[in-house]
């Protein structure tokens, strides 16, 4: 145990890694926005009465949740371009795979949120003379969104963690930057610890924000 921890390395590269967090943030933001669209559309489709309309989202969710994210990334970056005869920049492949992966989880979250609203709410809307579309957009969705928020935030946290795997296809985010720094400094212990700290700070803030929003919402629901 004669190891001396190099605080110099830790302190020098911590800001560099915080800067790389911007790339992580951009990648995750882009993926989460696209995945939310995927999730809303497929989640709504899953609550439809047509069996065919339910099969496609269900199959998608099962496949994308059942395959390791790393395999999906490798498939999207190395396999898909061969099949389509195109070249895919690593960032595009990264965002695409992260979107489809998060989309599968968000589909389930949105489906659950919509299904959790009592059916009597729908009947009440109809009884008041609202059209089905109006009932859905004015009654069901607003209530569903409220219930979706806590799992949505946890999904956001998991997506940030999963984005570290994009380092494998050279997306220049926190983990990739840390890899590069390790090659130069040969100080993996300090550098990866700094990277972990950067993730921890971001994710702790996100988790705290989620907890706060949850508390606020619960208070709102109780008050109403």
């Amino acid at each position: 145990m004669s190891y001396t921890f190099e605080w110099g390395v830790f302190a020098t590269y911590l800001p560099v890694l915080f800067k790389a967090a911007l790339v992580t943030a951009e990648t995750v933001a882009a993926s989460m926005i696209l995945a939310t669209i995927v999730g809303v559309v497929l989640g709504v489709l899953q609550t439809s009465r047509s069996a065919l309309a339910r099969t496609i989202p269900t199959a998608y969710v099962e496949v994308w949740r059942g395959v390791p994210f790393l395999v999906q990334v490798l498939w999207t970056y190395f396999g898909l371009p061969l099949f389509l005869g195109i070249t895919l920049p690593s960032l595009v492949a990264g965002i695409l795979s992260l979107t489809l992966w998060a989309g599968a989880y968000l589909t389930e979250i949105f489906r659950g949120g919509i299904a959790s609203i009592p059916i009597t709410q729908k009947y009440a809307g109809y009884a008041l003379g609202m059209t089905p579309r109006r009932v859905f957009t004015r009654i069901i969705l607003p209530q569903a969104f409220r219930r979706i928020l806590p799992p949505y935030v946890s999904q956001l946290v998991v997506t940030v963690k999963m984005s570290s795997i994009l380092s494998v296809i050279n997306v220049d985010e926190i983990t990739k930057r840390a890899d590069n720094i390790v090659v130069v400094t040969f100080r993996p212990f300090e550098v990866y610890m700094a990277a972990a700290l950067v993730y921890f700070v971001i994710l702790f803030a996100l988790a705290q924000l989620g907890r706060y929003a949850e508390k606020k919402l619960r208070a709102n629901v109780l008050a109403s």
Partner: protein, 223 residues
């Protein structure tokens, strides 16, 4: 779109791929067992009355849950040998990290299970003259299991999927081996599709078994 599929090229590699697949399952099984044992201990300690013990558990869980598994694994594999002055194989580094990581998630699941059974039920059964082992075996565990089972099955699936990341530090489980074969044959589409199907078989089966256990054995739908 002039791509010609050639799934037949997997044929000669099938045997090595499947033995690597077996290795993946072995790695997964070891991690699941270790994570379960450690998770039970940490989860139980987390319900302790001593505030210091609870804080230690809380910090352990949060540290592992709020950092990516990949970074943890890279830290253990590349960092620790330098600090401790020992050599560790990639497989051991992977298994140790995934077990510790899984234990953090498992402990939260088990804690929820323990806390889901109201204290009053324990008091009630003790006042009826049941011994503590009887109370645990007949009152607490049967109810806790129903709460724990769905999340626990999910955790098993997540751990099995996470073993694919061992390939990043050079373990030749099925993902690592597939990468190697891709670099020789350039048949990325066929091989990675095969790889995805391999994982899918096991994750779907585990999910089905979990649901069967929930409804048929523990009747979780009837409470």
């Amino acid at each position: 779109m002039g791509y010609v599929f050639h799934f037949g090229m997997i044929g000669p590699y099938l045997k090595v791929l499947l033995s690597a697949g077996l290795f993946t399952l072995e790695l997964g099984a070891i991690c699941i067992i270790a994570a379960t044992i450690l998770g039970l201990i940490i989860g139980a300690l987390h319900t302790a009355r001593n505030a210091t013990i609870r804080t230690v558990c809380r910090s352990y869980v949060e540290t592992f849950r709020l950092t990516p598994f990949l970074v943890q694994m890279l830290w253990v594999y590349f960092g620790f040998p330098m600090v401790l002055g020992i050599m560790i194989t990639p497989a051991i580094a992977g298994v140790v990290t995934l077990s510790l990581n899984g234990a953090a998630y498992a402990s939260e699941i088990f804690r929820a299970g323990i806390q889901s059974v109201p204290r009053t039920q324990i008091f009630a059964s003790l006042s009826l003259g049941m011994t503590i082992p009887q109370t645990m075996g007949r009152i607490v565990i049967p109810q806790g299991v129903r709460i724990v089972l769905p999340s626990y099955v999910n955790l098993i699936i997540e751990i099995l999927k996470d073993t694919s990341m061992f390939s990043i530090i050079g373990v030749s489980e099925i993902t690592g081996l597939t990468k190697l074969i891709v670099s020789e044959t350039f048949r990325a589409f066929e091989l990675y599709t095969f790889l995805a199907v391999f994982y899918l078989c096991f994750t779907l089966c585990l999910g089905r078994i979990g649901r069967l256990l929930e409804t048929r054995v523990f009747h979780a739908d009837k409470i």
